[in-house]
């Protein structure tokens, strides 16, 4: 699953990520292009007990979220 949150203003990146997580996704990628969105999604992921791997990209970051056991 991939959530393309690039260019969306706060708090849509979190809301769109939450929608996917609420559907039961165990792993997903979130694309973000600004630092506030990146931090927000990472904070959300932590609160939901997901591990986050941050990949730098030309537009910003690809965040790989995986539910931790």
């Amino acid at each position: 699953m991939e959530v393309d949150a690039r260019g969306l203003s706060c708090p849509q990146p979190i809301i769109e990520t939450k929608k996917v997580v609420d559907k039961g996704a165990k792993s997903l990628s979130v694309l973000v292009d600004n630092i506030a969105s990146k931090e927000n999604v990472m904070r959300f992921a932590k609160a939901m007990k997901f591990d986050v791997v941050v990949n730098d990209t030309d537009y910003g970051w690809k965040l790989d979220l995986k539910e931790n056991d």
Binding site: R6, S9, C10, P11, I35, N40, F44
Partner: protein, 355 residues
């Protein structure tokens, strides 16, 4: 429990911001108005003769400092990213009504916290309205409302707003005769220019670094029980409260508050409109200001929308006074809710049609 670094930074930022805010009041700003982003844009609009309410005209250097603080620190930290193009006109309109809501209450979310820290219980009523507005706006976003994506812009587009405010600072310092200055009322009360400017720079740099956001704090708490962002507002409140108690500026109650009214319904609804619009915009007035400094031209459009809203509010008698809300202001608030709801519903409808 381990306290995250992010939380500590927000707490420290909140404390410094609280101290700076009350210090500005002691040095001349109106009561509980160390910072009021909405009031300050209103004053700037007045100084530029965009409205003619004689008591609220002054170029507030705090605003210039906030924008520069964010601009400079974002360049230093390589976070200056020109972005824009997410429904600029809709953002202008929503910001316009956010300003109307703020002037019906008499303060932005930042000043609401400062008023609360000064013992003004009208701000508590407004806080409930603000939270209600945020929840309402978040429900719309959850249904798919969106102003659309922003895209990469040129450096000149991203820095234009900072250049405009640099020009404004130059006019204030070197050709003040072009501007209007209140001789009485809130506009006449201000700290020395240099102090206000430094205060703005400090708070602007901090807010850029720690993504200080009042609406975001409430949102995280409700959405996934995370109190990180809320920490900033809580410590801002606590620091300002302590400062007010020490300096004897704490005055608990509803009546007799400075630049405030006791019309509870309109304090509630005014700030509800601010919360509602701010969530759709992606940040309250201070966040839009900081975003503008970082190169976000959608934030810059918001600033112009707010200034236009302030000009209309004072030219058409929509703004409240210490006597309470005006009938025109009440009508404008309701219109604001209708317009923002309509915009959001139309974006939801359009999105569904695309799928």
């Amino acid at each position: 429990m381990k306290i995250s670094k992010e939380k500590k930074l927000l707490a420290l930022g909140g404390i410094i911001t609280g101290i700076v805010s009350v210090s500005l009041t002691i040095l001349g700003n109106p009561t509980n108005m160390g910072f009021c982003i909405a009031c300050f844009y209103r004053d700037i609009a007045g100084a530029l003769s965009l409205h003619s309410a004689a008591i609220v005209q002054y170029v507030r250097p705090e605003i210039i400092g906030l924008i520069f603080g964010s601009f400079i620190i974002s360049i230093v930290k390589k976070e200056f990213k020109p972005r824009g193009g997410s429904s600029p006109i809709l953002r202008f309109i929503i910001s316009f009504f956010v300003m109307i809501g703020a002037l019906v209450f008499l303060g932005c979310p930042f000043r609401m916290i400062l008023r609360l820290a000064g013992g003004d219980l009208n701000a508590l009523v407004a806080l409930f309205g603000f939270i209600g507005g945020i929840v309402g706006g978040a429900l719309l976003l959850n249904k798919g409302a969106s102003l659309g994506r922003s895209y990469k812009q040129s450096n000149i587009e991203g820095s234009a707003i900072s250049v405009i405010f640099l020009a404004l600072l130059s006019i204030l310092l070197f050709i003040p005769s072009l501007l209007k200055f209140s001789t009485s009322g809130p506009g006449s009360l201000h700290a020395p220019i240099i102090i206000s400017l430094i205060g703005g720079l400090v708070v602007g740099s901090l807010a850029q670094r720690n993504r200080f956001c009042m609406a975001g704090g409430v949102r995280d708490q409700f959405l996934f029980r995370d109190s990180t962002l809320l920490t900033g507002s809580v410590f801002l409140f606590a620091a300002a409260l302590v400062m007010n108690l020490i300096t004897g500026n704490f005055n608990l109650g509803f009546s007799g508050q400075s630049v405030a009214h006791t019309d509870w319904l309109w304090n509630f609804l005014g700030m509800a409109l601010v919360g509602y619009g701010s969530v759709i915009l992606g940040g309250c007035p201070i966040r839009q200001t900081i975003l503008a400094g970082e190169g976000n031209s959608d934030g810059a459009i918001s600033i112009f929308g707010m200034m236009a809203g302030a000009a209309f509010a004072h030219s058409f008698g929509l703004a409240s006074s210490s006597n309470g809300a005006t009938v025109k202001g009440m009508v404008a608030t309701v219109v604001g809710f209708v317009v923002i709801t309509a915009i959001s519903l139309i974006t939801i409808y359009n999105k569904k049609r695309e799928i």
